[in-house]
């Protein structure tokens, strides 16, 4: 059957392209915010914070575009699922960008203080989270629900590391009140990473919804 909605298909393709671009920006922000911490690079942390405005602006534009398509094209079935999912995905990505800003701000505060401990588990946690973000964007591009489900399952690995880091940092606090400030900042930072992984799971649920039309809980 011939395609008869060329303009509509083009609008959907542009929307999808915008979602992927936003995802790439957020992926970069997460990676650089962690590098700012590990390398004690304040300039990089400030860049991440400043660039979040671009993510927010793109988020606004994509929401407007999705709304315009819904208002003018009256999508149904897979088209409607696609637009609704993209709307939700960009919201999740915008929040991930905020978490990257949280990490960058934490890095700025920690970089001016003596390092509490060598960073081992936090970079491991960040590595898994970053790869989840990267791969979920691939699953979105390829509309691959099996891959999305597999990516969501790795949230458990992030949670295990998060709890390990939590226990360790609480131990530092109990050990010496002088550690409390740095440990608390690191706890918030770990929480940001953990939330990013949760949001990846939410996007994975959107990919499944796109296929099935059913809203699932993957966590």
């Amino acid at each position: 059957m011939a395609t008869t909605r060329t303009l509509f298909d083009q609008e959907l393709a542009e929307l999808k392209s915008g979602v992927i671009r936003m995802g790439s920006m957020v992926e970069q922000a997460i990676a650089e915010s962690m590098r700012a911490l590990v390398d004690r690079n304040n300039a990089l942390a400030k860049e991440v914070i400043a660039r979040d405005q671009e993510v927010n602006e793109l988020h606004r534009q994509l929401r407007e575009r999705a709304f315009m398509i819904m208002a003018t094209q009256q999508p149904v079935a897979r088209d409607l699922r696609l637009i609704v999912s993209f709307q939700h995905m960009v919201l999740e990505l915008e929040r991930m960008g905020d978490h990257a800003v949280g990490i960058a701000r934490a890095a700025l505060r920690l970089n001016d203080l003596p390092q509490l401990k060598p960073y081992i588990d936090l970079p491991r946690m960040a590595e898994i989270t970053e790869s989840q973000v990267h791969e979920i964007l691939g699953a979105v591009i390829e509309a691959d629900q099996d891959r999305a489900r597999a990516i969501a399952e790795r949230d458990d690995d992030v949670d295990v590391l998060y709890h390990k880091i939590w226990d360790e940092l609480v131990g530092f606090m109990v050990q010496d009140p002088a550690n409390v400030q740095r440990a608390a900042i690191l706890l918030f930072l770990a929480k940001d990473l953990e939330r990013i992984a949760d949001r990846v799971t939410n996007i994975a649920e959107d990919v499944v919804f796109l296929h099935t039309g059913r809203i699932v809980e993957l966590s």
Binding site: M1, A2, T3, T4, R5, F8, D9, L12, K16, Q74, P75, V76, A77, R78, D79, L80, R81, L82, E142, A143, D144, L210, H211, T212, G213, R214
Partner: protein
């Protein structure tokens, strides 16, 4: 590889408990011919009582033909022939010994364009009951009841003797519906009843349908897919096959047809990629 373009919903529709289902009209393997030309092939459809069932599909797919078989309107066209069964409460309406006049009382019809008689508003509604020999008192009561049921009473009660042709298009269509209701039908067939109406009049008809389905079984043919999605409980998608005969491609709850169609042809049609 799966892509956004070819992706299909792959989850089965939720099931309904069979005990809750009452089938009012059951079309089984219906074929229809205009002379040698087959317009409908092996069409089956189980229409639930007190639900709205919509027939959608591109022009020429046999929707209206199928609808008109349900009350034997095709008898009025010479050279036509229907095979198969259409059971109304278990009785085959295609049987030659069926009382067609009584059938059309049981299964009323509303057409694309309002077609009031060139008579007064009152006489339009009273026409059917009068033919059936009801008393003046009964007729007077049923006229008021039918006009109330269609939301027209308050608008016309002071001018019942005026010509129906002076009413607006939307009012004329509701008058025709009142005329159909006046003979106490069980099923109402609607052939694009709002296609000639403005959006406000269309919404009034749609709201009316929601009220009427509490008491009547409604089958509607519509080209307006949003209308089908808005008003119907069940939707059948029809399409011409390679021999240009209409077929039922997919039938199910409207929610499933518009959100998770199983057949790629249904998906292509409802998303506007058919042509």
């Amino acid at each position: 590889m799966m892509t956004w373009a070819n992706m299909q919903a792959d989850v089965a529709a939720p099931t309904t408990h069979e005990a809750e289902i009452e089938i009012k009209l059951d079309a089984r393997h219906v074929n229809f011919f205009y002379g040698d030309f087959q317009a409908l092939q092996d069409a089956s459809l189980a229409v639930q009582a007190r639900k709205i069932t919509a027939l959608i599909g591109p022009s020429g797919c046999g929707k209206t033909t199928f609808l008109r078989i349900f009350n034997r309107m095709h008898d009025l066209t010479p050279g036509t022939r229907a095979t198969g069964e259409v059971l109304l409460d278990g009785h085959n309406v295609l049987s030659p010994d069926i009382d067609v006049i009584n059938l059309r009382r049981q299964v009323g019809m509303l057409f694309q364009r309002a077609n009031p008689f060139p008579k007064s508003i009152y006489d339009n509604v009273a026409y059917g009951p009068h033919i059936l020999g009801w008393s003046k008192q009964q007729i007077s009561e049923i006229v008021e009841e039918s006009l109330k049921d269609t939301g027209l009473w308050e608008e016309v009660k002071d001018r019942l003797q005026r010509s129906a042709l002076n009413l607006s298009g939307g009012q004329q269509q509701r008058l025709c519906l009142a005329r159909a209701l006046a003979v106490k039908p069980e099923v109402i067939l609607m052939d694009e009843p709002a296609s000639a109406l403005d959006p406000i009049a269309t919404l009034r008809i749609e709201e009316l349908m929601q009220e009427l389905k509490k008491r009547y079984t409604i089958v509607i043919v519509t080209h307006n897919m949003q209308q089908s999605a808005r008003v119907s409980d069940f939707t059948a998608f029809m399409l011409m096959n390679e021999r240009r005969a209409g077929e039922v491609i997919e039938f199910g709850p409207t929610d499933d047809i518009f959100n998770r169609p199983k057949d790629s042809r249904t998906e292509d049609y409802i998303t506007g990629r058919f042509g």
